[in-house]
Amino acid sequence: MVDEGISRRRVLAGTAAAGVAAGMTVNASATASASTGVELTVNGEKHVLDVEPRVTLLDALREQIGLTGTKKGCDRGECGACTVLVDGRRIKSCLTLAVMREGAEITTIEGVRHPLQEAFIRHDAFQCGFCTPGQIMSAIGLLAEGEPGSDAQVREQMSGNLCRCGAYPNIVRAIREVSG
């Protein structure tokens, strides 16, 4: 199935300028080597997927690759549960297409081992746990952006991740402990 997808796309790559059927991925700057199968690198592993262009990175991770640690809370970028790292930066995977992230290094909760995880447990920085992968990925991204210097900065910078159980103060403590 996967192979078929690639070859179908290869055939079409050269005809990018002409009208091609919906569902096709075409590389407009079609060079001879243009491969158009959707190839994602997730947690260091390559996955070749047969997905339509309309498939979001989030749905590709969850439904195609089976990495369900990344959660869908709103599918509109409004809750942060789907936060992953792309090339080390935190983003919302529901607002990007899988095909747009070819060639990037994608990191999901399944691919991290970070002191924040222990700190989240120690400070009880979650209850139901549904927003937690997104919180942790967001916090890892935040730490990479530069150490947040105060509780207030953590609060502001973590405001893209909703937590309905209300673990907010504990999340701040967990992050502050790790950020030093």
Binding site: C74, D75, T108, F120, I121, D124, Q127, C165, G166
Partner: protein
């Protein structure tokens, strides 16, 4: 003793690594995806529904409308209880509210189902919907009590008479908004049939409800239905009852002969499983000049749907919290073209907000410090039944004391609108928290194997409240083994049946059953040991043997000992099971909440700068998880006070904020550090382990404390929630 200790959550590692599998995370071969189409209008009829294009769209397996919808074996009654609502969609052409299910598309991928759903064309005959509570007040009526026995009317003494003659009278008209639970995990159902047996991977706070009602609707035996929910991404009431999307998905999977997964979109979650109804409340209090309350008169109107009659917004705090000889409570509803309301953490909180606001107004009117005013009207007996002392069921005085100390509550409050800092007005406020908590039958089974490890099972839920952890602790203590020797599995109807996780009952009910099951197992193993001549404990009277740290030993001669594992290696596995309670029970939890706010002088933006809560929740089972739940509850109160509001278009009847950017749940930046104290005194009347509920309790109090603080800061009393900047200009 491990109980009470701040043990880290035992489900923590699964949750911080992404390993925890929630309802929508199951991998099932041959899975198909269902997407709902919902009505664009709020009232009328479908006159034509064209599914042709959708049915021909790539990947589509089935399109279902009222023409070919599943027919069910049962009709839910007009009083919602276990069934969230009466209305069963897809049975006819009538539209009762916007966002009602009118079609379902099933396809091989989510994207294809989603797109095909947009291709269905519907013509409606539109009628003018009724949307406004205020505009329909004259049609308000008192509903029947229904099987849940909700109380709509209450009277003692002569409230109106006492109010008329009271030296001090204060009245207020309070409005609270329609609100939505918005757990972070969207509601999901995955239905998998194997022959005539159904497995449902379901987002549910009540496995047993889902099993029972799905079976009833589908006309199958309960034994044919298995419900699985090991992790739940929050519920707060939205996942408490059984709603149509669940049995519709199960029915479709049966007729399609394929597993079907349905995940509600965030927008759909606003019309598929209830909401907290808007309320309009009129509350008057009469008192002597020194603040002794003589009368409460409280009347409220809230919204119900066209087919159900119910109001979950109970207001018993008015009649049960303070000593007051005369009280009257009346609750009415109006029918609107909106969905059926459902309980939302916490049903008493909007009535409690009005009560604790009028207490603040009374404090202003009498000049009695708000804290002193509450102490002055403290009830030691149930005001509804003066022969019933609260006894060990109420340590509210301790809450006031602990909270006031933590907060440094002033004996003399500065005048309203008199304290400024950095361009903002500062104010403080306080309120009492009050909520009933329940217990109902829970079963816990334990098997201990030859390795001395206990496998504990119960068909209960951990909705984020810490069930996994506190049951582990309770069983470990009852057995006298370390927590790591106990493994608790929940969330599967294959396990022994248990109570629903609604009404703050899980910890006390399941915890107590776990305690009894653990004790019973320990007794069994001791009995085996003392009867076994190979045991160092042979011949000792059982009552003189006890256990700690995995070892059984003679109380008087602790050198005579062996491990659980030693006994079981000889004897084989031992099982126990306990059910508790025999009959449902109710008790009450209390608290005192203190808040400090800053209100921007120019813009009216309110920021909560300090929040303190002191709670009497009986015995604290886990200091860490209980604290978290208390903090979380107070943040709920903050959201109700300041940000949350479902807005509905009055003409079209559509919810305009059906997302997480228009409906504002508090974000990290809204929340200050929160200080919590617990009285931590056991209430043996509530449960054998002395525990009672915390989740709902803690979401009471903060709303009024914040609103009172805003009034103190600005000198303005806003009686209409949420307190957004426009209301303070």
């Amino acid at each position: 003793m491990i109980i009470g200790k701040p043990l880290d959550r035992v489900d923590g590692p699964a949750k911080v690594t992404g390993a925890a599998k929630y309802a929508a995370d199951q991998h099932i071969p041959g899975l198909t995806h269902a997407v709902l189409v919902t009505s664009a209008i709020a009232r009328g009829k479908i006159i034509r529904i064209d599914t042709g294009q959708a049915a021909r769209s790539p990947g589509v397996l089935s399109v279902i409308t009222h023409h070919n919808g599943p027919r069910f074996a049962y009709q839910p009654p007009k009083h919602p209880w276990i069934y969230g609502q009466t209305h069963v969609p897809l049975q006819n052409d009538v539209i009762y509210h916007s966002g009602q299910i009118v079609a379902v598309v099933i396809a091989d991928t989510l994207e294809r189902a989603r797109y095909a759903a947009t291709l269905i064309q519907i013509d409606y005959a539109v009628e003018t919907p009724e949307i406004s509570v205020e505009a329909n007040l004259d049609k308000a009526f008192i509903p029947e009590r229904g099987p849940f026995n909700l109380r709509y009317e209450y009277r003692r003494g002569d409230a109106h008479g006492a109010l008329a003659t009271a030296p001090v009278r204060v009245s207020g008209r309070y409005r609270t908004s329609m609100q939505h639970h918005n757990p972070m995990e969207p509601t999901a159902t995955t239905a998998v049939w194997d022959g005539d047996h159904l497995t449902l991977y379901e987002t549910t706070q009540a496995l047993a409800f889902t099993r029972q009602k799905t079976a009833e609707m589908l006309g199958v035996d309960q034994k044919q239905v298995r419900v699985v929910s090991p992790y739940l991404g929050g519920g707060f009431g939205a996942k408490g009852y059984v709603w149509p999307h669940t049995f519709i998905t199960a029915a479709i999977a049966r007729s399609l002969g394929r597993p079907v997964k349905l995940v509600l979109t965030r927008a759909q979650s606003y019309t598929m499983h209830g909401h907290r109804a808007e309320t309009v409340q009129e509350l008057s209090v009469g008192a002597t000049r020194d603040g002794t309350i003589t009368a409460f008169v409280h009347s409220a109107v809230s919204q119900t749907s066209m087919l159900n009659e119910v109001s979950w917004e109970e207001m018993d705090a008015t009649t049960q919290l303070y000593a007051c000889p005369n009280a009257e409570l009346t609750r009415r509803v109006v029918r609107l073209n909106l969905g059926t309301p459902t309980p939302m953490r916490a049903p008493l909180s909007v009535g409690g907000y009005a009560l604790e606001s009028i207490m603040d107004e009374l404090s202003h009117a009498t000049g009695v410090n708000p804290l002193e005013l509450r102490l002055r009207n403290y009830s030691t007996h149930n005001p509804e039944n003066p022969s019933q002392p609260w006894g060990t069921g109420k340590f509210l005085r301790d809450c006031y004391e602990l909270g006031a100390k933590l907060f440094d509550w002033p004996h003399r409050l500065p005048r309203p609108r008199s304290t400024r800092r950095d361009g903002g007005w500062i104010g403080v406020g306080m309120a009492t928290a009050f909520h009933p908590t329940y217990v109902s039958a829970a079963t816990v089974s334990i098997r201990m194997d030859a390795d001395g490890k206990a496998l504990v099972r119960s068909a209960t839920q951990d909705i984020g409240t810490g069930t996994y952890t506190i049951v582990t602790q309770t069983v470990a203590d009852a057995l006298g083994v370390p927590a790591k020797s106990v493994r608790f599995e929940l969330g599967d109807t294959n396990f022994a049946p248990s109570a629903p996780s609604i009404g703050s009952r899980t910890a006390a009910s399941v915890g107590t059953a776990a305690h009894h099951a653990g004790s019973a197992l320990k007794d069994k193993v001791i009995a085996i040991a003392v009867a076994d001549h190979r045991s160092p404990l042979y011949g000792i009277p059982a009552a003189q043997v006890t256990a700690a740290d995995g070892q059984l030993f003679h109380r008087l001669d602790p050198r005579r000992r062996e491990t659980y594992a030693d006994v079981l290696r000889r004897h084989g596995p031992v099982d126990s099971e306990a059910v508790w309670p025999a009959a449902p029970g109710i008790s009450r939890s209390y608290g005192a909440v203190f808040a400090e706010v800053t209100v921007d002088d120019a813009t009216g933006e309110v920021r909560v700068t300090r929040l303190v809560g002191a709670f009497d929740i009986g015995r604290v089972l886990n200091a860490k998880t209980a604290r978290s739940q208390a903090i979380g509850g107070m943040i709920w109160g903050l959201g109700t006070a300041l940000t949350e509001h479902t807005i509905v278009d009055e003409h079209l009847g559509r919810i305009l904020t059906a997302n997480l950017s228009g409906y504002l749940v508090p974000v990290e930046a809204d929340v200050p550090d929160v200080d919590i104290a617990f009285v931590d005194k056991a209430d043996p009347a509530a449960s054998d382990i002395g525990a009672k509920g915390v989740g709902e309790l803690a979401s009471n109090g903060a709303t009024a404390a914040i609103a009172n603080a805003v009034c103190h800061a600005t000198g303005r009393r806003v009686r209409d929630l949420p307190i957004t900047p426009d209301k303070l200009l």
